[in-house]
Amino acid sequence: MKEFKITSNLINSQIIGKSSSIGARSVFEGTVRDINGGHDVIKLEYECYKSLAIKEGNKILDEASEKFGLIDAFCIHRVGTLEIGETAVIVVATSGHRDEAFKGCRYIIDEVKCRVPIWKKEHYQDGETEWLKGAG
């Protein structure tokens, strides 16, 4: 099963389903940090170009499933305003063996972070805000 989802609701990392006969599951969770480059971050805003984000996200899940023989591949990305400590993104990759599960999970989060059209604005203690610069 594969699913890429964009949500403005709280991500509860406990909702990720289970299935038997899997063997290995690798989960990655990215949460809002309170410090970034020396600034005190008080909250984050994520914005998304949704229709393209979902297409590109599903493409990444397909690629990961094929490359690493994943059984399940999920990714949920939060948008809207997030408080410190809240989950921004969660990835789940399952496979018969741990090497594939780890590599698949890593592939998905790496590709999501560089290909899926989502942008992050930091709000600082001093009232300033800043859209983060991407690597691209």
Binding site: Y46, E47, Y49, H77, V89, K113, P117, I118, W119, G136
Partner: protein
């Protein structure tokens, strides 16, 4: 007389903040491409927003030199920072 293309441009994130709008319609000449639209945006708003974008046309990644069609929805995508 040449045909005029109505191109919808949608802005996200930093680009929307810079332009101050979330969408605009540009009237372009037949044969124009996303580069031409970017030039029109710079001229109209008199700001240099650079060229560090990917392009999406009708919600598909596209190229800078693709010929646009009437009614196309064009997005300039700044470097992404999700995750």
């Amino acid at each position: 007389m040449e045909n005029i293309l109505q191109i919808q441009v949608i802005y996200f994130a930093k680009l929307r903040d810079l332009i101050g709008l979330d969408r605009e319609i540009y009237s372009m000449e037949e044969g124009n491409n996303p580069s031409d639209v970017l030039a029109s945006i710079k001229k109209k708003h008199n700001i240099d927003i650079g060229t560090n974008f990917k392009i999406a046309v009708n919600d598909e990644f596209s190229q800078w030199d693709i010929k646009l069609n009437n009614g196309d929805r064009l997005v300039f995508i700044p470097p992404v920072t999700g995750g």
